[in-house]
């Protein structure tokens, strides 16, 4: 395998881009991702925070410590992963994380791997989805994505500008992908508009260094509060309806109970 340092994003030439490598390298080691070349794009992706503008190469460690960053995003970064991973991992890479579903990770022929059944639905699924889990019950692991959804952030890529919400798509029979990024498309910058108040609350299996059982982000502008959740659906989940619309599996019903408690707490913390 080659490690390239291309001079421009146009010269990626099919190589897999990495910034911190904390997502891509483990996938390569597990054999879940195959590539002939990695492209180190750190020199090509903006890094740093300037008001609402956040370079996609900014690390989670930088974000969690910067007072310009809205509380929800700062907390989502602080409660993610471990200090070592946050020092390496970029916000752009964080948004593109693959699910932690053990069936997917162990390469079961599941629907996300173009197979014809969801092994988690009938199997061990305590960490899985309570929304949109009919086709695939995997849960999206990004804390940061939930915070950005609640804050109404947008992303600029080398090809277009889009809302963070539009970055994700639910997998379907015809298209198993969970993001809308095209091949060769790279996130460059995020716009994270300020809120009057925001917060992020996270339930984990231990105190630190765990993916969310449920993460809840809340952002209030004037009288409008937006809520988004992590770890509850195959993609980061903007709560535009009610938690009553959830369709938990037998083993994920407890997640709904936790979500109710955390949504209420998050709402009152930004009120």
């Amino acid at each position: 395998m080659e490690l390239l340092r291309p001079s421009s994003l146009e010269a990626l030439d099919g190589a897999t881009p990495i910034v911190g490598g904390t997502e891509v390298v483990p996938l390569l080691r597990e054999g879940l991702l195959a590539t002939d070349a990695l492209a180190d794009i750190r020199a090509l992706v903006p890094r740093g925070i300037d008001g609402a503008r956040v370079g996609a190469g900014t690390t989670l460690a930088e974000l969690e410590a910067d007072a310009q960053v809205p509380e929800a995003l700062r907390e989502a970064c602080r409660l993610a992963a471990s200090p070592q991973l946050r020092a390496m991992g970029s916000i752009g890479g964080n948004l593109l994380q693959a699910t932690r579903c053990w069936y997917w990770r162990l390469d079961y022929p599941c629907r996300l791997h173009d197979g014809d059944r969801c092994h988690a639905r009938e199997g061990e699924h305590r960490e899985h989805a309570i929304f949109a889990n009919d086709f695939c019950a995997s849960a999206h692991p990004s804390d940061v994505a939930a915070a950005l959804l609640a804050l109404g952030a947008t992303v600029r890529t080398n090809r277009r500008e889009l809302a963070v919400r539009e970055l994700y798509r639910l997998p379907s029979r015809d298209d198993r992908r969970t993001t809308t990024l095209e091949r060769g498309e790279v996130m460059l910058e995020l716009d994270v508009p300020p809120a009057d108040a925001s917060s992020y609350l996270k339930a984990m299996d231990r105190k630190r260094w765990s993916f969310p059982i449920v993460g809840v982000a809340a952002a209030r502008r004037g009288s409008v509060t937006t809520i988004a959740l992590a770890g509850v659906a195959p993609v980061p989940w903007l709560l535009d309806g009610s938690l009553d619309d959830a369709t938990p599996l037998p083993g994920t019903a407890y997640k709904l109970q936790i979500a109710r408690a955390l949504v209420e707490r998050a709402r009152s913390s930004v009120a």
Partner: protein
């Protein structure tokens, strides 16, 4: 003088009667309490070497031309190899040899669990070996997998005949009891996850097989490998210098040793076979899950009159039927006890001993049951335990030493904090305090030997082929030798872990290293000290005061050589360790989050040799116990039997943020009957009561009965909902 005796030998609850050659132990015990070196906190003698990366672990062993092996394992829980073709693997560049079923011990075409070893390849690099394995062609025949332990018991799929205890008249006592509590407790499968994975490097030096291995028992490996390969034991040299933990999973040789030995024989090179972390999560052993259906009967004054239970150990494809009933039969003074223990044979990876096997699980059930009884009797849980304290071992023997009542006395102030802790509860977060007692073995025993040499610089080297599995036993030996010789601790070097270059010492399991080997080290040092005193008498005259360094300076290249051995355990006595822990928890009743805020650990392990080393064992035990109680669980796909948790993101050990405040209080009274030190082991006792103390604190905080480990958020929320339902029903009546 050596003599031959018939005695009982116990290892982690398994007792057998054996012939033993023992040496008398004529030394008087030292007085209780801190001495010059013994009983004073000492940092690890090898701490800096470990921290600097200078300590050589098995994982660091490299020889010129060494090859790397990788093992092909069954992807199915139950399968047979119909056909296997190693040729495509042998064609890969760098590959030097490949072996299949029957070519080495433990490589088998019948696979009774996922991860069972089938074939192996060695190559110049590990990557080449791994890639070659992918090319091995195997035709599998999948067989039906048995996964449910109750199902296995019903079908008679057992490891051995069920083990029973029958004392007094259990049925009658239960029928006559004023109060009866029955409950079913469940514990999960957890993994050892030592920092160093299971591994060995083997090479042949002439007709001698050298085995460098991460192990808890160099002598056991020597004997097992020699017997299995048909070699004289002296033609097997086993080396384990520094070791990255075992927790019970590294007591035997394992397929990795045999694979390395056979591939080394075929290639004439040194071969390393090291499990990856993913293999470690599947096929390196585990603490088996249990189902415990238990009952207690008591009089209204709290006197326990009947204890009984059916214990199912979900052992896996092989392993042993741990003494899960042990706490119930040993901890309390109860005349009527009936237990039956089944070892369910399943198509799951074999259980291995894991830090107080059986007793961690059994104490969870027994000590939670006792708190449920206390609640029903409206008795204070600490008072209930004191009332049922056993003055004599319920099996009939005298104790060699027992300070459990003193442990209870010292626990009282921690227990008293419950009023203040509960008062800090609010609508969302409920706080409470719970306690649990502990009984375990840990007396060690003969044989174990040590040599010592003292040079003209008045420094000493202790040689004993024990192993320091990471617990600090090397330092404990240096402290004991320094005390006896009257020299500073850092003037003692301890050489361990080489069967060619030291005398026999015990296995490091059952909390037995220090209580077995340290008395031998003291005896060796006393032997040297006696010779030094004789020299002093010749030089300075009888009874004259002298300076050891000055006297020894005349030695030149001459050396004082001493030998020592571990004397016998007291005949017909029960040698046990005891303790009690008090846990404080906070439970978020809306999200099911359980936080352990403080654990006070009071243990009786006889004399304490190094208080710093002992408290770090207590801390390690409690941290491992917190993981067992709250977050660790090996998960299996219910239909296929495949292991799902193979990485650290899925299998959740505690982080430093999960560690409670830990208060350690060791009673430190030497066991007057046991050895020239009166010291027992501290490795296992601290993990034993953790789960029950936490679960009892959760009940104290919330009124909810958690009877199933781990206490994840879903288990906590389920228990809270059930408690609300029960309370609602009670209120409706």
């Amino acid at each position: 003088m050596a003599r031959l005796i018939r005695t009982e030998k116990e290892v982690e609850g398994r007792v057998e009667e054996v012939w033993l050659v023992v040496d008398e132990d004529p030394l008087e015990q030292w007085p209780a309490g801190p001495l010059e070196a013994v009983g004073r906190p000492a940092p690890r003698a090898d701490g800096l070497a470990r921290a600097r990366g200078e300590a050589r672990y098995t994982a660091d062993v490299r020889f010129p031309g060494m090859l790397h092996a990788a093992i092909l394992r069954s992807p199915f829980p139950h399968a047979r190899v119909r056909r296997i073709d190693l040729a495509p693997a042998l064609a890969v560049p760098g590959v030097r040899a490949a072996i299949g079923p029957g070519d080495a011990p433990e490589l088998d075409d019948r696979c009774a669990y996922e991860g069972a070893p089938v074939a192996a390849v060695c190559a110049d690099t590990f990557r080449q070996a791994r890639e070659a394995l992918e090319l091995v062609e195997v035709e599998w025949k999948q067989l039906e997998a048995l996964l449910d332990p109750d199902d296995a018991v019903a079908r008679g799929a057992l490891l051995e005949e069920p083990r029973t205890t029958d004392r007094g008249d259990y049925e009658r006592a239960l029928a006559a009891a004023d109060v009866v509590v029955e409950a079913t407790y469940r514990t999960q499968t957890v993994l050892h996850n030592s920092m160093e994975t299971h591994q060995a490097v083997c090479r042949w030096e002439g007709d001698m097989l050298e085995v460098y291995i991460s192990t808890q028992y160099v002598w056991g490996i020597r004997q097992e490998v020699a017997r299995t390969l048909g070699l004289p034991a002296d033609k097997v040299r086993v080396v384990c210098d520094y070791m990255g933990g075992g927790f019970g999973a590294k007591n035997s040789a394992g397929e990795y040793t045999y694979v390395a030995a056979e591939l080394a024989r075929r290639t004439g090179r040194a071969v390393r076979c090291a499990l990856t972390r993913r293999e470690e999560h599947v096929a390196a052993g585990n603490r088996n899950a249990t189902i415990q259906r238990v009952a207690v009967g008591a009089r209204s004054d709290g006197t326990i009159v009947a204890l009984g239970g059916e214990f199912v150990n979900a052992v896996g494809a092989s392993g042993w039927n741990a003494m899960t009933e042990g706490p119930m039969t040993m901890l309390y003074d109860c005349p009527n006890v009936r237990t039956v223990t089944y070892g369910a044979k399943l198509n799951l990876p074999p259980a291995k001993a894991f830090r107080a096997p059986g007793f961690v699980e059994g104490t969870f059930a027994l000590e939670c049951l006792l708190d449920e009884l206390a609640a029903k009797l409206e008795l204070d849980p600490l008072e209930l335990r004191i009332r049922n304290h056993a003055e004599r071992d319920p099996g009939g023997k005298e104790y060699s030493g027992k300070q459990l009542l003193e442990c209870y006395r010292r626990a009282a102030p921690h227990w008293e904090r419950r009023h203040e802790v509960r008062a800090r509860s609010d609508d969302r977060v409920k706080r409470g305090v719970g306690l649990a007692s502990q009984v375990w073995f840990g007396g060690g025993g003969p044989p174990s030997y040590a040599w010592i040499r003292v040079g003209s610089d008045a420094r000493a080297t202790v040689v004993t082929a024990m192993q320091d599995v990471g617990t600090g036993t090397r330092t404990a030996m240096a402290i004991v030798a320094a005390e006896e010789l009257g020299i500073p601790v850092d003037h003692v070097t301890v050489a361990v872990g080489d069967t060619l270059r030291g005398p026999y010492a015990t296995l490091s399991a059952g909390s037995s290293t220090t209580p077995s080997v340290a008395p031998a080290v003291r005896a060796a040092a006393a032997d040297a000290r006696r010779q030094i005193d004789e020299l002093a008498e010749q030089r300075y005259g009888r009874g004259a005061a002298f300076d050891v360094a000055e006297l020894l300076s005349v030695l030149g290249n001459a050396q004082i050589l001493g030998t020592g051995s571990r004397g016998p355990n007291p005949t017909g006595m029960s040698v046990l360790t005891f303790g009690v822990q008090v846990a404080e928890v906070a439970v978020d009743v809306e999200t099911g989050e359980v936080t352990v805020e403080r654990v006070a650990a009071i243990h009786d392990v006889g004399r304490v040799i190094n208080p710093l080393g002992a408290s770090s064992q207590v801390e390690g035990g409690i941290i491992q116990g917190v993981g067992h109680t709250l977050s660790e669980e090996r998960l299996v796909d219910p239909s296929s039997g495949a292991i799902l948790t193979r990485t650290f993101d899925a299998y959740r050990m505690p982080t430093v943020a999960d560690v409670p405040e830990i208060v350690t209080d060791l009673v430190d009274v030497p066991d007057a009957q046991l050895s020239n030190l009166g010291a027992k082991g501290i490795g296992e006792p601290p993990i034993i009561p953790v789960a029950a103390a936490i679960a009892n604190a959760v009940r104290d905080a919330t009124g909810a009965d958690v009877r199933s480990l781990p206490i994840t958020r879903e288990e906590m929320l389920r228990a809270l909902a059930e408690a609300r339902k029960t309370r609602g029903a009670a209120a409706a009546v």
